[in-house]
């Protein structure tokens, strides 16, 4: 009875987590922050109020306190080190006109404002804005694009407020109802989601680095998007694609998402997605696919995960082709009892079948996962025995005498040799300088052992 209660509680807990994943990212659109109160205004505001539309205003080096309000299409450019320190009562730079350009500013949000008002380093409601080479720190949202289509953010750096819970932070770059955006070569860390994209279509996200976040990239209800050459590192999910169609992504790295429920790449109710040449490495779970249709995964490297692919039986029409599954503890975890997912022509390091006819594929089909893996999908505590001789023995026994009813997911043309996937990026090694403490301790241990053995050999030794 009690165990039943515990199991139910666990399941409920998981259910709540899964719901929370969707819900707490949703935006409640708050009222729009208007012109700051006079006492909050930056001394630069007077110059902006006099600028003619289309003109360029150059700000000399220095530190300026207070918020800015831009209501006409101008170019605002920093000469040298210009730091804008916010009033602490809301967004620091409020862009309320189309065609505004901001270049080279350092912006400090002073931890000001609140999430309900979307308080940001730069808050944009006009279209076709361009933000380049800006550094934003200590603000709830880094850059917020609200109904701001055609906007470009490039070469900027956003560092959130350290020490806050993910729920208390905003996203690095947050988009709502903004089409045709381009976000390139930005550096984002310590925020809730690196990029949060809601109801925004036809955008490009390229060459960014995002780390120490909840989700590196989070699409909600945003179709026809493209992201390439990004690095998403150390979060609850490298990228979470939800309720969006026709997303294409290439050459990204989803790496080191190591929390107990962390995922390299999460797809939830996403159809017609194409993933090519990505690196999904060193994650608790590599790919997690739920409630999605007709997605294609081609030429990706999925490496060093506890589970390479988690598939729910709510998915259909998934294709995995020419991927390389390297050193995962298990290639596939199927939650449920059936799948029509096609695995064909992939490489698996755990496939030891020979290729005697030399056609490049092993002579026999490769079954993804063993009866033990299936068991893991259904009994939570079975994970305690992962990698044990018992689990191996069970798998071996099943391969030798396949008497157990099989949930057959097999690759009928598994590659015999690792394919050369030259387009897939290579992760930078985590490689600190050599550790002196570590070396001293290790050398000490080794010498202790050696000395012990040496002394033991002496006649009548002093052992």
């Amino acid at each position: 009875m009690r165990t039943g209660a515990i199991a139910v509680a666990l399941l409920l807990g998981l259910g709540v987590c899964a719901r929370a994943q969707v819900d707490d990212g949703a935006v409640t659109v708050g009222q729009l922050e208007g012109r700051p109160a006079p006492s909050d205004l930056s001394p630069l505001q007077a110059r902006l109020d006099q600028a003619l539309p289309g003109s360029t205003v150059v700000i000399p080096a220095g530190t300026y306190r207070g918020d800015l309000f831009l209501d006409r299409p101008i170019t605002l450019r920093a000469r040298g080190e210009v730091t804008l320190i916010g009033s602490g009562h809301g967004s620091v730079v409020r862009v309320r006109a189309a065609g505004v350009t901001l270049e080279g500013f350092t912006i400090d949000g002073m931890r000001g404002g609140d999430l309900g008002r979307d308080s940001s380093g730069i808050h944009v409601t006009g279209s076709d804005a361009r933000i380049a080479r800006c550094r934003i720190r200590n603000s709830l949202f880094g850059i917020y694009l609200r109904e701001s289509s055609g906007t470009v953010v490039e070469d900027s750096e956003i560092v959130g407020i350290p020490g806050l819970d993910p729920g208390e932070k905003g996203s690095g770059i947050h988009l709502w109802n903004s089409r045709g955006f381009r976000l390139e070569r930005n550096l984002i860390r310590d925020v809730r989601d690196g990029f949060y994209v809601q109801s925004s279509e036809g955008g490009t996200i390229r060459g960014n680095r995002v780390s120490d976040i909840r989700y590196g990239l989070h699409y909600m209800f945003s179709d026809d998007n493209l992201f390439e050459d990004n690095v998403f590192e150390n979060g609850a999910a490298g990228a979470a694609l939800m309720y969006s169609k026709r997303i294409v992504f290439r050459r990204n790295q989803f790496i080191r998402n190591r929390g107990f429920a962390s995922v390299g790449l999460l797809l939830k109710v996403c159809d017609n997605v194409l993933a090519e040449d990505n690196l999904v490495a060193d994650n608790a779970r590599g790919l997690f696919v739920e409630g999605s249709e007709k997605n294609t995964f081609r030429r990706n490297v999925i490496a060093g995960s506890d589970v390479a692919v988690v598939l729910y039986d709510s998915v259909s029409g998934q294709r995995f082709e020419s991927n390389s599954f390297v050193s995962n503890r298990t290639p596939l975890l199927l939650v449920g009892t059936r799948t029509d997912t096609v695995f064909r022509g992939n490489y698996y390091t755990s496939n030891l079948e020979p290729d005697l006819d030399g056609d490049g594929a092993s002579d026999r089909a490769f079954t993804l996962g063993s009866v033990f893996d299936h068991f893991r999908g259904n009994v939570i505590a079975a994970d305690l025995l992962v990698d044990t001789p018992a689990a191996e023995a069970l798998g071996l026994a099943e391969r030798t005498f396949p008497v157990l009813r099989k949930i057959a997911v097999a690759d009928d043309r598994p590659l015999a040799k690792a394919p050369e996937l030259t387009a897939v990026p290579v992760a930078a090694r985590v490689r600190g300088a050599a550790s002196l403490v570590g070396i001293v301790v290790s050398a000490g241990l080794m010498l202790l052992g050696l000395a012990g053995f040496h002394l033991g050999q002496r006649p009548g030794g002093a052992a």
Binding site: L10, D282, A391, G438, S442, A443, L445
Partner: protein, 275 residues
Amino acid sequence: MNLRLFAAEELKIALRSRWTQIFAVVFAILASGVAAAGYVISGGHGVQDFARTSASLVHLVVLIVPLVSLMLGVLSLSLERGAAEVVFALPVSRRTILLGRLLGLFAALALAQSFGFGLAGLLVYSQSGPEGIGDFVIVLGASFVATAVFLALAAFLSADAFGRRRTRALALALVAWVVGEVFIDLAALGLATLLPSGAASRVLILASLLNPIGALRTGALLLVEGTGAFGAASLALLRFTHGPAGATTLIACSLLAWTLVPAFWAGRRLERTDI
């Protein structure tokens, strides 16, 4: 005083034994292999932090160290009939002799493991920062605990094994190793397939806490990797034990019992055996 004498003598003999020396070298090669593999894994696209390396080392330790401790323990503690007569004719209690010899053996095996871990550590720390140093110490500790547990079991198995019965003790030790490594987990898995999910989880958790090998593996991996070690299963385990303190207590009690009870019974049997 007598205890120290026997411990020192046993340590000296063990350090001179070819078996111990071979173990030291082989263990060093295996441990360095695991450590080095941690850095080249995942086909050149790889990334691997020290926690991963430690986890692989834990699996190596719980496989090899029990086997070697059992084998070398039985080989040394079960004496030829003549030798046994000489040793136990000394005016020292049999329990003291046994305990001394166990301590000596433990020291010898610990030295051999230190050598291996030292070499592996050198490989790792010459190319990475110091963040894994705590994990390294945990794995070393787990290795020493494994040695203690399985030397105690070896003492129990060889308590009345003199002369020709040595072979039997050796065979029993091998059986004990296979049972601990594979059969208990297999039996638990088999039982779990027949039970509803909640009870199945309970069986698996108990199997991995009560079996000394399971307790070592579970404890060490949880210490090294935190709840990331077994995903949701970690949480199921912590819920079962009412939190980390409960898990620590259970694992510690399990390992302590597996060391003290066999050692105690070994002493008792040895005292009652007619040599």
